[in-house]
Amino acid sequence: MKSAIPTQAADQPTVLVASLAILGISLFVQQSVAGLQYLTFLIGVGLGITLMHAAFGFTGSWRAFIRERNGKGVRAQLMLLGLTSLLFFPVLGQIFPSVQAGAALAPVGTSVLAGAFLFGIGMQLGGGCGSGTLYTMGQGQVDMLITLAFFIVGATLGTVHLHWWLSLPGYGSISVIAQFGWVQALLLQLVILAALYGLVRLLETRRYGNIKPVEWQIPQHEFTQRFIHGQWPLWWGVIGLALLNLATLIVAGHPWSITYAFGLWGAKIWAAVGGDPGSWVYWSSGYAEQSLNSSVLTDTTSVMDFGIILGSLLAAALAGKFAPRVKLTGKRIFTAVAGGLLLGYGARLGFGCNIGALVGGISSGSLHGWLWLLAGFCGAISGVYLRIWLKVDRPMGTRQ
């Protein structure tokens, strides 16, 4: 295994600012918002650090697999799904009666199919998924600011149209835990994930003759340096994300989600400039109405997203990678705008992004998560070809 001691020194002023911001916000939320909201913020910080230090992303991994059959990142994601399922299913199967946690269940239908497909295209154009957009923006990538801004616009538009999409053909929510019981459902799920892992491994081996391992070991003498400054082995990312997702399930009462907040922020901005999002069906009842009319700091997803941005900012500063040079061309601005809109609209229709719907849905035993994976991956294939058509990437068969 090659040594990966960071070559750049930590960006100390940014480390200090990020640390103070994290401390200050934690204390403020702890004082001013009821419940364990400050803990969800700190979990978000942990997620941001893990995503950044392990460079755990979906967009680049999917593209690498589609273009080059490099399946290392996809295999890590399948491990994440397996490990999170192992942690979630017993909790959701109520073996701990004192833990009241809700699964990420959503209807299986046209809305998820179309939404995940659009999201898959959007992630390839925008350069990030739900988690990726947040942590690369926290890393200080200016182009991802544009993607995030239009992600918010798209998500807000999605809340305008969601009720129409839900009137299209579909089924209700289907939980395999409710259907089979958590033990049988878990076994079934692990068998399917293992089969997918085997398929990815087979395709990769056919291309290269062997597979790139998902690394987990580092030399002993590098441990402290790598733990603080990165870069973490991918396995650390898998374990960290799974454990923090479990912490979210226990503390917040639902799996980790990201994109609900984007629609909320957009609706709040629309209200601030004189609009009336409260008259839209989506924001007119239930938790959506309550969150629209409450402080944004009372919304768990928003607070976790703030944590992810600040956590990745801190990690990037520790690694000396904050605010990298970016070539902001007209084409990049176009793909960021188009990608962001598709990401946001798709996430709302698909009941979440790669985190809320894919990881959260599958790990909760919800069938919509599997449909999201299928449609999202098909969308990503289309997005990869769109990038070639737009001359962002070279044609298939040539190296990037």
């Binding site: 009821a34 419940g35 809700g102 200016v142 938790y287 009319n293 997803t301 605010a323 902001l328």
Partner: protein, 75 residues
Amino acid sequence: MKRKQSRIIVGTAIGAAAIAVAIDHTRQRLPEPEKQLASQQAVIIIDEGEELPVENNGDCGKPPSPGRKKAPCSL
């Protein structure tokens, strides 16, 4: 775009977002304050050995969690 420019743009964006959150937090109410107020105002005297009233038997006296679903009382 140079690193310094990136830092300024991202710093400005995060600063603007922080101001927006502060304005929103100041203008919007916290969740269901009337419920919290009601529970603070209610004084229930229970004699030693007497059973608790039904509404206080579980953990539901806690303020509602801001979670997406209806807040589970045990959180």
